[in-house]
Symmetry: C2
Subunit: 438 residues, 2 copies
Amino acid sequence: MKLLSEPRLETIEMPENLAVAMMVMQARQQHAAQGGGALDFVHYAFGGSPFPVPAAVQQALGEASGQGEYRPAEGIAPLREQIGRFWDKHFGMKIDPGRMVVVPGSKQGIYNTLALLQGPVILPAPSWVGYLPIARLLDKKVIVVPTRAEDGYRITAEGLDAQCRELEDAPQSFLILNSPNNPTGAVYTRSELEALAAVCRTHNIIVISDEIYSLITYDAAGFTSMAQIYPEGTFITTGISKYAGAGGYRLGVTILPETCTEQQLLNFRKVGAATYTNAASPVQFAAIAAFGTDPAMDAYIDAQRNLHRMMTTELARRFGELPGVTTTTPQGSFYFFANFDARGDELRAKGIADSRTMATSLLQEPCRVAMVSGASLLMPPESLTFRIAAVDYDGAAVMKAYQQARPQGPQAEHAFVAQHAAGLLSGVDRLRSFLDTL
Amino acid sequence: MKLLSEPRLETIEMPENLAVAMMVMQARQQHAAQGGGALDFVHYAFGGSPFPVPAAVQQALGEASGQGEYRPAEGIAPLREQIGRFWDKHFGMKIDPGRMVVVPGSKQGIYNTLALLQGPVILPAPSWVGYLPIARLLDKKVIVVPTRAEDGYRITAEGLDAQCRELEDAPQSFLILNSPNNPTGAVYTRSELEALAAVCRTHNIIVISDEIYSLITYDAAGFTSMAQIYPEGTFITTGISKYAGAGGYRLGVTILPETCTEQQLLNFRKVGAATYTNAASPVQFAAIAAFGTDPAMDAYIDAQRNLHRMMTTELARRFGELPGVTTTTPQGSFYFFANFDARGDELRAKGIADSRTMATSLLQEPCRVAMVSGASLLMPPESLTFRIAAVDYDGAAVMKAYQQARPQGPQAEHAFVAQHAAGLLSGVDRLRSFLDTL
């Protein structure tokens, strides 16, 4: 019996970062089983927090292990109320818990939002690898907006406006805006957001503001939510995966704008009720602690923010010293975007004409460096750009060292990174060797 | 700003059972806050296990609280391997873990399967309330196959074959088959499945075999999986919600047929990777214990099976003694289907002309009995049929009493139910009073 596939699934690629991450994990396991010693990968392709789940969250999960019952599709009330307090404390925003829906991960919140409302999806290039599959699964038209290196690969009001002719006669569309940004580390300023909001108002563009890295803005006070600038048209999607080291917990929240009708709020919940039912009940109780406003949770959030700043900034600085390589300057998240175009002629002479080929090539011995190609982030294939993630170190050990003796000042921070994340930095030397062979 | 909805979401109803369950829960909380004493609901509308999550599963969840990492979309290998041992032990089936995908709940597995392959969806009437919203969300055509009371509301080969003209020229379609059945408690025999499989082979019908109640088959040896009869065309969807009292954990598994290509296996995982990523990582580790093949888990499964048999059988017997009421004879699950059609003339004289009106009417004082209407289970609106769930009792106390002194023989079992589930049975008296007023 031959089973006939839904054609649209064939148009979805398995995200390259997941495929590479699995490959690296398997290679490391094999390496360990063989007794170690030989060359290992330097893993710049993975996008998860290296830090352990906060102790209070772990304890809360254990205490909630008896929570076997189904829960409402919008999430339990005490969690949504706690999220309200957390938003007030960290972002100075008052959010009615009635506008929050707890979801099994921020990505699921993006899916539910795109399922809820009409319209094609505008994605800046580069964008996170996960948006395109969601749009494809929902059979939504996708419009890619190019950005410029001189703008730090940020989408600008002019760039957005110029692309709006592609919308044709769509009465409404979506823009997915991610700040702090994966893959560039950019944090959009208030005035940039205001300019984008003006274009969105003109063209009836709904913004899905992916704020999953908001608590990894290096200058904590420097984060502005699009929902503060453009409240009538912004959905916030976020979760505990990044700032609380709990990607595997699958716990996110979507904040719907006040312009959503009661029927639309209900429809959003219906998507959940028809598929995953509710975010796992014990995890919902544990998440109350992850959205804690207590000093211990504050200290954890500060520590992970500072460590990501130190690691990502130092790694980007060293990448920028590679001959012919330029990078964005990360202001948040644990990524930056690296551009090897100035070495393009030499690379093409070696048969490396696009970012995917180069990413595959760098995985081989002797380099063994894993990076996500720009091509899988919606960049033109021939753009020799890559996402670099600065999380390949022992997060538990590093956090412990930080808590015991927090480095003070730039020199101490450089020394801290060099001492505790030598493996992370070693990829730069491997890349230098690779470039030297060109 | 007016946000424009996706029209298809408007066609999805919020399941009546969830709406009623929320209403009853709120009324009970209010009742408790007011000091209790007055009339409470008898809740026949809820479809969850009343039993606590097994101690070993709770302990395993606590021990896995540090599992913050993302996991592969198909689920962790040790869990899938353990599911293989569990299937061998309980169902005598050898399943390659490579054909299993761990999902956040059995319902999500049904969604992924319908998203994976082409074709309209055939649903017997009555069917569980949750299938229709999944098909609507995926914009799939739905074909309802009526069943007959004299067949115990089972779909028959003749009934299925007769409806196949509705398939028009669809090269492939789905049948969702649920055994043990929600709402009727029917367990399909091997020969019934063989007859259905013959029709499926003729018309290229893929079966989604919803086996969520398989371990609540009262005669444990009496369960046959459609995958044993029709392996080339059957997807099994199930999970730990019902037999392990862990609906809130959101952990299910889909077993794909060997006829699925590698590409289709990958596509199935892509649906997960594009939305929920993976079933919550700590829950996956806890589920290894829920699929345990140890004596303690065996004893738990036996206890819940026997208790559901005792409770559901006794409640159905008492319903059958109500004047003019007939019921199915439950052989599995914790449901039966009750038919009040013989009282139709009297009910219509009181303005009760359909099952939804009657369900709403019964919720009012003085009756206060919650039942799910046949109309929300795809029955014709005027059919005065209802799903009755026999789970409204203190599951923890009942299981403890059972473990301390297991009742032996029918008389002892009747006495056990009367002693430990008086509230559950009290709804029958309320319904008798209601019927007496007609």
